[in-house]
Symmetry: C2
Subunit: 108 residues, 2 copies
DNA sequence: AAAAAATATAAAAATTTTTTGATATATTTT
DNA sequence: AAAATATATCAAAAAATTTTTATATTTTTT
């Protein structure tokens, strides 16, 4: 892993939207449209940020028909540690308005 | 640790100069003038980046006379892990032109 | 093959970060 | 108290990132 790979990973993590995206994917893959409806952000904005996470090797994608599902890519140990640390630290804080009282995500 | 604290830490790490600064401090504190002469960067630039690292709680400083010495601040476990990971990953790659053949820093 | 749905991409605008050059501040030395 | 040294700060310029709006692409459905 080169310095610029490291910088790319940290750049990807240095944005609140992207940290929320990672936390949102904690429980498995989601399609872009679901993410858009949960975070209430524009679709291009979500795609833009997902793409940065993908370039940094932090998420991976899979097409199913017209939808594209994103999920965490923790195949690398260091990245896995980062992702888990982030999720542990921001869990529940990230989506207060999108969670119900049991702590489950409210899918819109 | 809030989301914005996390973002601040990752922002601080998302720059090659700053990763090099952290690696440079691996073996103990250094004054700004020493860092400037090793990295061959302008003094305001070095101060700027050190300040970002300090704001993120990754380095600390100590004045001694007219000099100010910076050192790693790894009092927090998560930050310590990040710093150690970075150093392990970029060691030797970071300063090829500033190291001698034994791997020691060539102080100018 | 046209329409619809989901997503990506591109261009322009807005925002943030970084660099540079000049100057200010703090401490020590003369 | 003036000069010298080390560092910080500031303002302007440059560069990079993010957001927005519009459009293109891909796949499925009709």
């Amino acid at each position: 892993m080169s310095i610029s790979d490291l910088v790319k990973i940290f750049k990807a993590l240095s944005d609140e939207t992207r940290l929320k995206l990672l936390a949102l994917l904690e429980n498995g893959e989601l399609c872009v449209c679901k993410i858009v409806s949960i975070l209430k952000m524009s679709q291009p904005k979500v795609s833009f940020h997902l793409n940065i996470l993908k370039d940094a090797g932090l998420v991976k994608m899979r097409r199913e028909g017209t939808r594209i599902f994103y999920s965490l890519d923790d195949s690398d140990l260091f990245k896995r540690f980062l992702i888990l640390s982030i999720i542990e630290k921001i869990k529940d804080k990230a989506f207060s308005s999108n969670f119900n009282q049991k702590g489950g995500v409210i899918w819109k």
